[in-house]
C-alpha cells in the first residue's frame, strides 16, 4: 500500500481530485452553464478516445484507423440495451455488453491485420472500421440509418469517474512491463522479438485494451447526446481522434489529454464557422507534420517533477 501512494501517484491523485472539485464548483455556481457542460462532456469523451488510440498508435506503434468502429459498438450496445431496459442498470449492462463485443471484434480484427506494417495496417483497420459501421447500419435492431433516440442518462460525476478509471487503466498498463514491451515493439520490432518479447501478443493486447476503452467512450456518448447514428462513426471520426493524438504527441498520454482539451475547446468556439474549422484542421495537420511531427509533447510526459526540473534548469542558466 505504501508503494502505491508514492510521490508520483499522489501528485496525480491530488490533481485529479482538484480538477473535479474545481469543475463541480464552477458548474453548481452556474459559471459553467448547460452549453459549456456539453463541451466538458465532449472533452471527457475525447480524452478517453484519444488516450485509448494513443495506446495503440503512440505506445505500440500500430497505425489503426478503425477506432471509430469500436466507439460505434460501444454506443450501440449501450443504446440498444437502454431501449430494452430504460434504466441505469440497463445502461451499465449495455456498457458491459459493448466491452465484451468490442474485445471479441478487436481480437478478430487484430489477428490477421497486426502482421501488416504501417500503411497496410492503416488501410486494413480503416476497412474493418467501415465494415463494422456498415453492419450496424444494416441491422434491424439498431434502426439503421435513422439511428436511435436515447434519454440522457449520465451526469458529470459519473462521467468523471469513468474518465479516471480509463486513464488509470491505460497509464498503469503503460508504466509497467507489458507497457514497456509495447514500447519496444514500437521502437524496433525485430530487436524486441530478439529480447524475448512475443510482439504479436502485445500488439493484440494493446489493440484490445484500446478498443474496449473506445467502446466505453462510445457508450458515454450514447448516454449524453440523445441521438446516435451510424454516420457519426465513419472513418472521419477515426481521423478526428487521430488528429488529437498527433497534436498531443504520439506516445505521450498527457499530450493526448491536453490535445483533447484544447481541440474540444477550439471546436466549441469555432462551431459557428464549421467550414472554416475544417480548413483550419487540414492546414494544422499539414503544418504540424512538417514543422513539429512529434506533436506538442513528443513521447515525453508532462510531469510535476518535469516542471520542477525545468524551473531549476532555467534558474541555473540565468545565474
Amino acid at each position: 500500500m505504501k508503494k502505491m501512494f508514492n510521490k508520483y501517484n499522489l501528485c496525480w491523485i491530488l490533481s485529479m481530485i482538484g480538477s473535479y472539485v474545481l469543475l463541480s464548483v464552477l458548474m453548481s455556481a452556474g459559471i459553467i452553464d448547460s452549453v459549456y457542460q456539453t463541451v466538458v462532456t465532449t472533452i471527457i469523451i475525447n480524452i478517453i478516445l484519444a488516450t485509448s488510440l494513443n495506446l495503440i498508435i503512440g505506445i505500440t506503434g500500430q497505425f489503426s484507423l478503425g477506432h471509430a468502429g469500436f466507439m460505434c459498438i460501444g454506443a450501440y450496445s449501450a443504446g440498444v440495451m437502454v431501449k430494452q431496459m430504460p434504466s441505469m442498470t440497463g445502461f451499465m449492462l449495455g456498457i458491459l455488453i459493448g466491452v465484451i463485443i468490442s474485445a471479441i471484434v478487436a481480437m478478430i480484427v487484430a489477428i490477421p491485420t497486426l502482421r501488416l506494417k504501417g500503411d497496410y495496417l492503416a488501410i486494413a483497420t480503416l476497412g474493418f472500421g467501415e465494415i463494422i459501421r456498415i453492419v450496424v447500419l444494416n441491422m434491424k435492431i439498431t434502426n439503421g440509418a435513422a439511428g436511435l433516440v436515447l434519454p440522457k442518462m449520465l451526469n458529470f460525476p459519473f462521467m468523471y469517474g469513468v474518465l479516471m478509471l480509463c486513464l488509470i487503466v491505460i497509464i498503469n498498463f503503460v508504466r509497467s512491463a507489458p507497457g514497456r514491451a509495447c514500447i519496444s515493439v514500437r521502437e524496433d520490432e525485430i530487436a524486441s522479438e530478439a529480447m524475448g518479447i512475443n510482439t504479436t501478443k502485445y500488439k493484440v493486447y494493446a489493440f484490445i485494451i484500446g478498443a474496449v476503452i473506445a467502446s466505453i467512450a462510445g457508450a458515454m456518448y450514447a448516454g449524453n447526446f440523445y441521438v446516435i447514428k451510424p454516420e457519426m462513426f465513419t472513418f472521419n471520426k477515426s481521423i478526428d481522434i487521430l488528429v488529437m493524438v498527433v497534436f498531443g504527441g504520439m506516445g505521450s498520454m498527457t499530450g493526448s489529454v491536453i490535445a483533447a482539451i484544447v481541440i474540444g475547446l477550439l471546436n466549441s468556439f469555432l462551431q459557428n464557422f464549421s467550414s472554416v474549422r475544417m480548413i483550419v484542421y487540414g492546414i494544422a495537420l499539414v503544418c504540424i507534420m512538417i514543422f513539429r511531427p512529434s506533436g506538442l509533447l513528443g513521447t515525453k510526459e508532462f510531469t510535476f517533477s518535469g516542471i520542477g526540473n525545468f524551473i531549476k534548469k532555467r534558474k541555473e542558466v540565468k545565474k
Binding site: 522479438e193 530478439a194 529480447m195 524475448g196 518479447i197 512475443n198
Partner: protein, 258 residues
C-alpha cells in the same frame, strides 16, 4: 555434450544460396569465432540460429536439459526464451528509451506479473518492479554504464551503445550469447576493453559465446575455436593457429596467391 549443434544448415533466398550445408558444434563455456569476408553469410547464419530466418533445410539443435531439441524455424522470442541471446550488426537499441529501460525490457520474459496485476497495481507488481530495477542496475554496472542509466539510448556515444547492446542481451539470462561484430568501429583501446569485457562476462555469467568479427586482433586473442565462412560455405575450422595458416582462408580474404 554439445550445447548447440548445427547439421547441414542451408538457406536459399530465391536463387541465391546464402548459407550452404553448414555444420557446427558449440560446447559449454566455449568462446567461438565466426569469420569470413563480407557477404559470406555470417549474419545470415546468426539470423538462422536465432530464429529470424527459417532454414531452407538442415537442422539446428539446442541442448535443453540434456536432450537435443530442434529449434530451426522457431520464432525469435521462443528461441530467446530457450536461452539464446544476440546483439545486432547495426545497433538496434530502443532509441527513445533510457539506458535502464532498454535493459529492463530485455528482462521481460522473466518478469513474474501479468497485465492484470500491472493494471490493478497488485503487490506483486511493486515487488517485481523493484527486483527488475535492482537487477538491471547490476547489469549496467558490469558494462560500466550505471552512471548513464537515465540517459536516452540514442544519446550514448557509439562504443557505449555497443556495450548497452551486450548488457541488453545479457538481461535475457542466456546460455549462449551471439555477438555480431561487437568491435565494429572501435579503436584499438576500445577493442582491448571489449575483449576484456567479453572474457569477463563469459566467466561471470557462465556463457557459451560465439562472435562474428572482422577485427583479427580480437578474434585471435580470445577465440578458442574459429569457423570460417566464404560464399555461404564453411571452408575451415580449427584453433587460431590453424586458421591463421590455412591457405584456403588466406585465399578467401586476400585472393589467390600469386
Amino acid at each position: 555434450m554439445n550445447v548447440l549443434k548445427v547439421s547441414g544448415l542451408t538457406k536459399n533466398f530465391g536463387g541465391l544460396c546464402a548459407v550452404s550445408n553448414v555444420n557446427m558444434e558449440l560446447n559449454e563455456r566455449e568462446l567461438i569465432g565466426l569469420i569470413g569476408p563480407n557477404g559470406a553469410g555470417k549474419t545470415t547464419l546468426f539470423n538462422l540460429l536465432t530464429g529470424v530466418y527459417e532454414p531452407s533445410s538442415g537442422k539446428i539443435e539446442l541442448n535443453v536439459d540434456g536432450k537435443m531439441k530442434s529449434i530451426g524455424g522457431l520464432k525469435p522470442y521462443v528461441v530467446t526464451a530457450m536461452g539464446l541471446a544476440r546483439t545486432f550488426q547495426n545497433i538496434r537499441l530502443f532509441k527513445s528509451q533510457s539506458v535502464l529501460d532498454n535493459v529492463k525490457i530485455a528482462m521481460h520474459k522473466n518478469i513474474k506479473y501479468g497485465t492484470a496485476a500491472a493494471i490493478l497495481r497488485l503487490p506483486k507488481f511493486y515487488a517485481e518492479e523493484e527486483r527488475v530495477q535492482h537487477e538491471a542496475e547490476e547489469l549496467l554496472k558490469v558494462v560500466h554504464l550505471y552512471d548513464k542509466k537515465d540517459e536516452l539510448a540514442k544519446n550514448l556515444p557509439y562504443g557505449e551503445q555497443r556495450r548497452l547492446e551486450i548488457a541488453r542481451a545479457l538481461a535475457t539470462s542466456p546460455k549462449i550469447l551471439f555477438l555480431d561484430e561487437p568491435a565494429a568501429g572501435m579503436n584499438p583501446q576500445e577493442t582491448a576493453e571489449l575483449t576484456e569485457l567479453i572474457h569477463k562476462i563469459k566467466e561471470d555469467f557462465n556463457l557459451t559465446v560465439i562472435l562474428i568479427e572482422h577485427d583479427m586482433s580480437l578474434v585471435m586473442t580470445i577465440c578458442e575455436r574459429i569457423y570460417v565462412l566464404d560464399y555461404g560455405k564453411l571452408i575451415a575450422h580449427g584453433n587460431p593457429e590453424e586458421i591463421k595458416n590455412n591457405p584456403r582462408v588466406i585465399e578467401a580474404y586476400l585472393g589467390e596467391e600469386i
